[in-house]
């Protein structure tokens, strides 16, 4: 970032339209919500330490698991992967000076922040919505939740959707129009491809959920009967429309993380990615099939058995392109000279944990098995293996990998390794245990449970507290490295084939860093700085 001697720092950040600054804003805000959502999760696990009441009221428990879900999905994973990494690195990797619509980009960020305040303000008003993250009718109708908290929740959902849509449109236009000469679609990086598919999913799916949330808001406030059976409305329709968005949304949450992992693995294996084109096709197929599987969330709602069979088939099919990706990552590592630096550890962690989450997803896709496992802790465990074991480990891989590019300093390797291994062990402690208690029949979202399962829940709680606390290693590492870390070489991972790293001739091994990162990055940024007057859009 160029230095301004006159403009105060707060103004630079508050009024910024620079994609890198907005990316950093997104990341910092999202990590803040990661902490808040994590605190909620630890409180929930503490409550589940003993069967029966432990230390909170049932209503508080409901509010906390609702806000945990909403926060982790809409205020943490999607913003950090799309808003954070996408904003920062997509323009750099295609050689663009900025996003196509820089002002719109800033608007996306501020709408996201407003939506976040709507989701959380209920706690201040002593009227927080307790709708789960799904907000099913009739619970979210006036008859189920009379308070204003649910209205705020619906508006927040709507607003975060608008923010996503603006971001998605912006990303797609940027990729179409702002590529540097020579950057063709056929040689875009896999990270950029993942962002393209993600943006497409956002653009196609989010308006539908915006519609459905508005309709529920109308049901609550203006006397309509869209989802109320008394007036001819259909409650199951809500679930169809909701999952038409929210199933593609899980691919919004995983695809950018796959993109990051596809960046990291080849760089640390010393080989190019195995099967570039199949990787791109796999992402496109996942994106397309993502729209055809939504009703697998609704097998127990009494929809037509023939429809269920169709959705079972499409859901199982989506395992194929995902399998292609897993095998290609392994193929990239096979026979390579692997450097086990922290980003690579997290990338390998992603592949292994995501495989577990993917395979138990295929179990659940089977209708008869789903009848047994629906709404048990198995489902909770599945979503956490793919979202924590998948997306969040992907985020960590990305942060460790790109931290030198963003700050010019290295993160501490030793702390990074501790962070990785402690995270891996405790995350399996929580979520593998949840698999088992799920099969044993413990329902999710319930405050009380069968006392026979108490010791397993205690294991999960201890692991969850550990999982929360070891993240402090990461936050300490980031805070310390950002100001006191070792100055990074300009191209610390020796990446020769990606535009976001300055091209530095491979130095002889003894003198690896002839030019400091700060100088080299400043040079790159100067080349890519926006020229004055190109913002006009006529």
């Amino acid at each position: 970032m160029e230095t301004h001697t006159t403009t105060p720092a707060w103004k630079l950040w508050l009024f910024t339209t620079d994609h890198k600054r907005i990316g950093i804003l997104y990341m910092v805000t999202a990590f803040g919500f990661f902490i808040l959502g994590g605190i909620a999760a630890m409180a929930l696990r503490t409550e589940l330490f003993t069967a029966g009441p432990t230390f909170m009221k049932q209503q508080t428990f409901n509010e906390l698991f609702s806000i945990h879900g909403v926060t982790m999905i809409f205020l943490w994973i999607i913003p950090v992967l799309v808003g954070g990494f996408g904003n920062y690195f997509l323009p750099l990797q295609i050689g663009a000076k900025d996003m196509s619509f820089p002002r719109l980009n800033a608007l996306s960020y501020w709408l996201y922040l407003s939506a976040a305040s709507l989701f959380w303000i209920g706690f201040l008003l002593k009227d927080q919505a307790a709708l789960g993250w799904t907000g099913y009718v009739p619970l979210s109708e006036r008859v189920g939740t009379p308070g204003v908290g649910a209205d705020l929740w619906l508006l927040g959902f709507h607003l975060v959707g608008v923010s996503s849509i603006l971001g998605g449109v912006n990303f797609l236009v940027t990729v179409i129009k702002e590529r540097a000469p020579g950057v063709k679609f056929k040689n875009l990086s896999l990270f950029v491809w993942s962002q393209i598919v993600t943006a497409f999913l956002i653009v196609m799916a989010t308006p539908v959920v915006g519609t459905v949330m508005t309709l529920v808001f109308f049901d609550r406030n203006f006397g309509t009967h869209f989802f109320i059976p008394e007036g001819g409305g259909d409650p199951v329709l809500y679930q169809h429309l909701f999952w038409f968005y929210s199933h593609p949304a899980v691919y919004v949450m995983i695809l950018p993380a796959m993109g990051i992992v596809s960046e990291v693995i080849p760089r640390f294996s010393g080989q190019p990615i195995f099967g570039y084109r199949p990787m791109v096709y796999a992402m496109a197929v996942i994106g397309f099939l993502g729209f055809t599987v939504w009703a697998h969330h609704m097998f127990t709602t009494g929809i037509d058995p023939r429809v269920r069979a169709g959705f079972m088939a499409t859901t199982m099919t989506i395992g194929l392109p995902t399998g292609v990706k897993i095998f290609n990552w392994i193929g990239t590592m096979y026979g390579g000279r692997i450097r086990f630096a922290t980003p690579m550890l997290f990338a390998i962690g992603f592949v292994s944990m995501f495989t577990i989450g993917g395979i138990d997803g295929i179990y659940m896709a089977s209708v008869p098995i789903d009848y047994q496992l629906q709404d048990t802790y198995w489902a909770v465990s599945h979503i956490h293996y793919v979202l924590f074991g998948g997306s969040v480990l992907g985020v960590f891989a990305g942060i460790y990998y790109w931290f030198p590019r963003m700050t010019g300093r290295m993160m501490d390797e030793r702390l990074g390794r501790w962070h990785f291994w402690a995270t891996m062990i405790s995350l399996n402690g929580v979520f593998m245990t949840m698999h088992i208690v799920g099969i044993l029949g413990m329902p999710r979202r319930v405050y009380d449970y069968n006392p026979e399962l108490e010791w397993m829940n205690q294991l999960a709680t201890y692991s969850a507290i550990c999982l929360g606390l070891v993240q402090l290693l990461f936050f300490y590492n980031v805070a310390h490295s950002a100001f006191r870390g070792a100055i990074a070489p300009a191209n610390p991972w020796d990446v020769q084939d990606s535009l976001e790293w300055p091209k530095v001739a491979r130095a002889p091994s003894k003198a690896r860093a002839p030019v400091s990162a700060a100088v080299a990055i400043a040079a790159v940024d100067r080349v890519m700085a926006p020229e004055s007057g190109r913002e006009g859009k006529g």
Binding site: D127, T211, T224, H225, L237, F244, R534, G536, G538
Partner: protein, 242 residues
């Protein structure tokens, strides 16, 4: 609880929000107004006539692509509303419900013709602009705005009539989906009139010419979309072709 409700929605927060939105709108219009000469030209019009369609599309300006993708999201938004309508239709034994009043098919047909003709006047206006006939362009755009406003006026009149017959948002899922579809469309018409008035005013101040007309093309795409959706709406809700 009502106290909190009032504080959030009716109190100073609402005032601040309105001020922020107006300030943002002002900034947007101001920037467009002051920088229009620096806006990128239509590179696709410089290409040879036999250039491939893909090449021409890729050369279209950033704003054109932005509007196209925005309209994709709009299609999905109306798609969601149509799904609600069709689901209610499919699950009702009698459609429309016997208690619902007869919709004014003929009067709304005329209104449809008004809206479609506004699309035609706008299109011809842009053709004139591209040949630098500025007066004809301005007159035709004024006509477009007037026709759009007339459509909206008729729509409001129809609403008042239907309200008078006791048909409103609370009239079961039929009333709700009728008013949702036509109401959301009406909101789009209102926004379209706003956009048209914006480019028309800029035209009055001498902006836009044969080479630089991206802003107008954006509004035009949007207005054509609004027309197009209305034809669907009319055929489905009033004529009931399905």
């Amino acid at each position: 609880m009502l106290l909190y409700y009032g504080v959030i929605f009716k109190g100073p927060v609402l005032g601040i929000a309105v001020i922020l939105v107006l300030a943002a709108l002002y900034g947007w219009v101001y920037e467009d107004y002051t920088t229009w000469r620096r806006a990128p030209q239509h590179a696709e019009e410089e290409l040879p006539d036999d250039a491939s369609l893909m090449r021409k599309w890729m050369a279209k300006p950033v704003a054109w692509w932005g509007v196209i993708l925005f309209l994709l999201t709009e299609i999905m938004l109306f798609g969601g509303l149509f799904v609600v309508y069709f689901t209610a239709h499919a699950s009702s034994p009698v459609w429309p419900p016997a208690s619902a009043p007869e919709l004014p098919v003929f009067a709304t047909g005329i209104n449809t013709a008004i809206l479609v003709s506004s699309g035609v006047t706008m299109h011809v206006g842009i053709m004139f602009l591209k040949r630098n006939y500025r007066t004809a362009f301005l007159v035709l755009f004024a006509a477009t705005i007037a026709l759009g406003a007339l459509f909206l006026f008729n729509q409001v009149a129809e609403y008042i009539e239907l309200f008078g017959e006791g048909f409103n948002l609370s009239s079961g899922v039929y009333g709700a989906s009728f008013f949702a579809l036509t109401g959301v469309h009406g909101a789009h018409v209102t926004a379209g009139i706003g956009g048209l008035t914006g480019v028309f005013t800029r035209g009055l101040f001498g902006q836009f010419n044969a080479k630089r007309h991206t802003g107008i093309e954006g509004v035009a795409l949007y207005w054509h979309f609004v027309d197009f959706v209305w034809i669907f709406l009319y055929l489905v809700i009033y004529v009931r072709v399905v």
